[in-house]
Amino acid sequence: MRKFIRMMLMAVSALRSNVMRSVLTTLGIVIGTAAVITMMEIGQGASNALQRSIQSVGANNLQVLPGSAAAGGVSKGIGTSRSLTPQDVEAIQRECSAVYDAAPVVGTSLQVVYNSRNTVPAVILGTSPNYLAIRDRQHLIEGKSFDERDVQQANKVCLIGVTLSQTLFDGDSPIGKVIRVQNVPMRVIGLLSAKGSNVMGLDMDDILIAPLTTIKHRIAGTAATQVNQSAAVVTTINTLSQIYPRTGLDLYPIRSQSQVINTPQPIRQTHVNCIAVRAASTPEIDEAKRQITTLLRERHRLAVDELEDFYIRDMTEIVKTFNDSSTSMLRLLLFVALVSLVVGGVGIMNIMLVSVTERTHEIGLRMAVGARARDILTQFLVEAVLLCLIGGGMGILIGRGASELVKYFLAWPVEVSLPAMVAAVIVSFSVGVAFGFYPAWKASRLDPIDALRYE
């Protein structure tokens, strides 16, 4: 230990005797390490920001969407059929162990009016109270959420997001105000906390959430099939049946026009547009998907060879794509930074070689008073390594400073990365050993007589 301290002191005094040169020599390492640190911190920050924006949709999120409806051989794309029901939601809650919770969702897009102001929010949702927990939106700035009773009674209450609140109320508290949606007056009972944009870039704060039944039956339900606009076309687009009338027998006698008018049949469709599901944990997402698929196939009475009439969307796929592209970019930048570290190492080697030549006399003297070849080797190696470690240390500081600047001026998300610092220290140590070895070895091979005589 004492020997180690003595060697360190010796190296420090040798480096201090030529401060300017030591600083210039280590500059390559400083820049290299600083680059690595900044890259890693920005990369880490970006990746964490991505994680957070994924979380904003809700952690461990799954969406069950109805499959495509086909009419007369014309497919209308995913989400157009009416295969999902609130009973499906209950079944998922009851029977899927890998599912934390599930909520039915109906969506629509309509004008919202308050006094002289009006807007069309990005999202209007009808759902059950547990939806908020599933999508991590339980926290309200003001007011309270609706409850099961509101859903059962289709009460005309709603929660709104901050963007919508700003648009309609211009900073005033929205609580207790009555807004109109499709001419239905609704009382605002809660203000949702800000969420930001989701992965798709949709503003999740320009939102109105109301009980499922209110949206379904009071608002969208006025045109019962209008809930999902694309789905709504189903009734009118099916022109083939008029061209090619079915030949099969009807079960019931055909009612006359006057009968239809006299005894209108109440149509209360209960299908939902989407089921919001939260898996119990991230590793269980796949299991949850499997369980839901099995359950819904059973409930929808699909034969083994039949295609599913629903579709499960998994956020992790999107996340993976984003992550992959950002990590490959980061790798490229890291590689460039490592190249600059190697260049810095060559600089160290160059200067150490000069230093060995310059100090030939000193080496000869040290040998004359009893330094062995390996003592000389260690001395110069320690100097090179120390130089690199100092460079690495300065690089870490400068890199941290640079990423703080990036954070301050560009507002990029930056995260302190401890592994990057550890790696920087290890790499600069290895660079010191790798590039300091040759000069040190050269010094240790000197002949003491020649070295002493060297002018």
């Binding site: 005094s13 006399h361 040998m367 004359a368 008073v369 009893g370 330094a371 062995r372 390996r374």
Partner: protein, 242 residues
């Protein structure tokens, strides 16, 4: 026991195909506590001989015992150890480490010793030695702040730090004026008398050689003559006559 004994030592350098014999059979015995001057024209082989004596180089043939150890058979690392523990060097141009205090210069050889003294004891010994050579007040000065004579004193203190039995000095007064030279030589004489050091001085100057008990003249790689110094001879003669 002899401090130094050489038996028919030769040294030949090779420059390509050409052989250059520098020492052609040197036999020599120096007793412990002797002070010997080594003289000769340049090219006579005295520097080579000094390098051999200082274990910086090894002979081409012949044998060399230093303090009873057969040095001719040792490897590089063992030679380094011998240099560290048995030999002190003084050079014509002092060879102090620049930008390093006198004290640190004196301590330097100890960092290569085995069975090292602890920090405090080393320091004490170095301070004592500097006091001995008359530089107590200048321990923290760097070589550039010291005169030539003072630098040589630091070098002598450094040579003695590991308490070697043999001190080799290669033209120690070559770079000094006559007054300082005299002081340095007096210091050598004092060390020789008081510590019983074996001292070998390489020199050009006759006056320097006069301080020694014995003078060895080299010529063409051989010892030309090896005589007790005139003074000493005179003293002996007087004693015989008286």
């Amino acid at each position: 026991m002899d401090a130094i004994r050489l038996e028919d030592v030769t040294k030949t350098y090779y420059r390509g195909e050409i052989e250059i014999p520098v020492l052609r059979g040197v036999s020599l015995a120096i007793e412990r506590g002797e002070m010997v001057a080594l003289m000769g024209a340049s090219g006579s082989g005295k520097s080579t001989l000094l390098n051999l004596l200082g274990c910086l180089d090894q002979s081409s043939s012949g044998r060399y015992w230093l303090d009873g150890v057969d040095v001719s058979a040792l490897n590089r690392d063992q030679l380094a150890l011998i240099r560290n523990q048995k030999i002190g060097f003084c050079f014509q141009n002092f060879n102090l480490l620049p930008r390093t205090s006198a004290l640190q210069n004196v301590l330097m050889p100890l960092s290569y010793s085995y069975g090292r003294l602890d920090e405090l004891a080393s320091r004490e010994r170095a301070e004592h030695l500097l006091e001995r050579v008359g530089l107590k007040e200048r321990m923290d000065h760097e070589p550039s702040q010291l005169s030539g004579g003072q630098q040589q004193r630091v070098a002598i203190a450094r040579a003695l730090i590991a308490q070697p039995p043999v001190l080799l000095a290669d033209e120690p007064t070559g770079a000094l004026d006559s007054k300082t030279s005299a002081e340095i030589l007096a210091l050598f004489g004092q060390l020789h008398r008081e510590e019983g050091l074996t001292i070998i001085l390489v020199t050009h100057e006759g006056e320097v050689a006069e301080h020694a008990q014995r003078t060895i003249h080299m010529r063409d790689g051989k010892i030309e003559h090896d005589t007790p110094t005139a003074q000493l001879a005179g003293a002996i003669a007087t004693r015989i006559e008286g």
